[in-house]
Symmetry: C2
Subunit: 338 residues, 2 copies
DNA sequence: TTGTACGCGTTATCAA
DNA sequence: TTGATAACGCGTACAA
């Protein structure tokens, strides 16, 4: 790897001149010198050393993508199609803007913070932050931060968040079920915080509108720990048979629920209707194709990255909360009854 | 961010002493000093500046994961479950070993090389390298490299490769089809190079053993460009109906073929049998569950990272070629005929 | 046992 | 228009 110093020596100019040419500060350098240096730069395929640049400018061009993992889960974060699609969008936008993406996955916020500081990331995209995770990060890290899907009031007040109208999405889905004649509708998820809590509220809202009573038993809770998942799924499927429809908090859950039902000899949608959330390939590749709430994870990732980069460039975002609108995609897993 | 210099000043010791304590060179420092410094380090939550360290030691602790993308494809690399599972394994092993993963995705090898040099990655894991891609990288990049799934003779001679016995896997699958009474067996893929070529050879091998003649028409080629995929899939499904079984080069293809067939009113496995390759969630979540050739992408990623890190530590690998063994997983998409 | 001083590659300041 | 030089934070050879 050739360095600026070396180039300067070989061309018999100063490092300043070389650096100026590299950065297009052309009015400071004579045309002949520019040509000479540029030609040489191309010949030797000069590539800047980022570490040196970081040190000199205290700027790393790194955008940290932070995901808090749950090691006990039946699939890892990078196996979740929703997460991957989002990261794919982030990667695309970050690279196009000349930044570098560094993915930090850990279940330990302290470790994450230490990585971020070590690499001196210029900005952060935070995802899967629950409880006080977001707070812990922003306490230590004082550069721009964009959240995805936080529902912490504290964070929403002070930071940019790219969210989704989860409540509306879920409400629309359940309204649709009701319109199709369903009144015994269960809600399936593995938790009741953050995004899922909002979806749960949407579900409750739609029930209430229609004057359908809610009982705690309607909440079908999945235990997504490695050893529990299968059993939990079958238990949920068994319980689901007391309902005519199930709203699932993700396509992944929906597809797995349908499989569990199928394995128990229950047909979807003939015997029971199922609706998902996300609209990713799992639902699309399923047969019958999954009726679900569409959100574009890739686009949302791209927007988050663009917004962060805009902030890094010194622009103030117009508003702190961006809420994308999901929409229902009707396919083949909901049956009209009566 | 506090620096060593600052710490030294505050404790009234030298930077050398602080540095020595940080690196556990305890025999050079008096016990009291060690205690004093360690306590202070913890208090201020000292985090080293990686850029400075890189510069000083010419070592980055970065392992570059290089994927050559095909932007025209109907899904991006990070949407492919096989790729994600592999990256998930890589990430796990790289982080556990105290290294950092930087993912480089691009369709432009020159751009990839420039990124790698810029960040001074200590080692590389190369994936999806076709034609002379591998050669172009290794010409410029003179540090340890581990390939995954290369079939370039040139690279295999000189570099470590973590491969899979693709030929054997495909052969076993087709043998199984033949054992089930199938003789009209098609081969479905989107290309005929690298990994897929090997699988094709395994397919041919099994046919030959059984004295079944091969015709070029047996090769069902998918066009996986964005605008072509759907039409191509349906064309393939139509052609597939001339056969009693189809061997597909990936679970993703298999599932989509089954869907296309289903959409045409053809039942799997009643009317036609389908077998996949990979054994990922797409096949497992499908109903009927996909009969397929199992490989553990995550494990393979982990092994690749471990191997590379071992080389970085100065150990010579025992052998250049590691070939993992896939095995057939019989589920529900192959019917015994006659 | 501790401290000084230099080099890593780049950028920025300021003087020539 | 150009160049010398300091600074960024760290690790280390060598001196004390």
């Amino acid at each position: 790897m050739i360095t600026i110093k070396e180039i300067a020596a070989q061309l018999d100019v100063s490092t300043t001149t070389v650096s100026n040419v590299i950065h297009g500060k052309t009015k400071e350098v004579s045309p002949e010198t520019i040509k000479k240096v540029q030609k040489f730069l191309e010949e030797v395929e000069y590539v800047p050393n980022i570490s040196a640049r970081n040190l000199a400018q205290n700027e790393s061009k790194i955008i940290g993508v932070v995901l808090k993992s749950r090691p006990d889960r039946y699939i890892s974060l990078l196996q979740d199609p929703f997460v991957c699609e989002m990261i794919s969008g982030l990667e695309d936008a970050i690279r196009s803007a000349g930044y570098y993406m560094m993915v930090y996955i850990s279940d330990d916020i302290a470790e994450i913070i230490s990585h971020i500081s070590t690499w001196n990331a210029d900005g952060l995209i935070l995802f899967c932050m629950l409880d006080d995770d977001g707070q812990r990060v922003t306490e230590k890290y004082r550069k721009p931060v964009v959240f995805m899907d936080t529902y912490s009031e504290e964070m929403l007040k002070n930071y940019v968040n790219i969210g989704l109208d989860d409540r509306q999405g879920a409400c629309d889905a359940v309204r649709y079920l009701i319109k199709c004649g369903h009144r015994k509708i269960a809600f399936l998820s593995d938790n009741q915080v953050g995004v899922d809590l909002e979806r749960f509220r949407g579900y409750r809202m739609a029930l209430k509108e229609a004057g359908i009573e809610y009982s705690d038993r309607n909440f079908l809770q999945l235990h997504t720990e490695k050893e529990e998942m299968d059993r939990s799924l079958h238990r949920a499927a068994r319980k689901a048979r007391n309902y005519t429809a199930v709203f699932c908090c993700s396509d992944l859950f929906a597809v797995q629920l349908i499989n569990a039902l199928t394995d128990q000899g229950v047909r979807v949608p003939e015997d029971i209707s199922v609706i998902g959330f996300d609209d990713n390939m799992y639902g699309r590749f399923h047969r019958p194709a999954l009726t679900t709430v569409h959100q574009d994870a890739g686009y949302r990732g791209r927007r988050a990255a663009e917004l962060l980069i805009d902030i890094l460039k010194g622009n103030q975002p117009e508003k702190n909360r961006i809420v994308m609108k999901p929409h229902l995609v009707i396919r083949d897993t909901v049956k009209v009854i009566q």
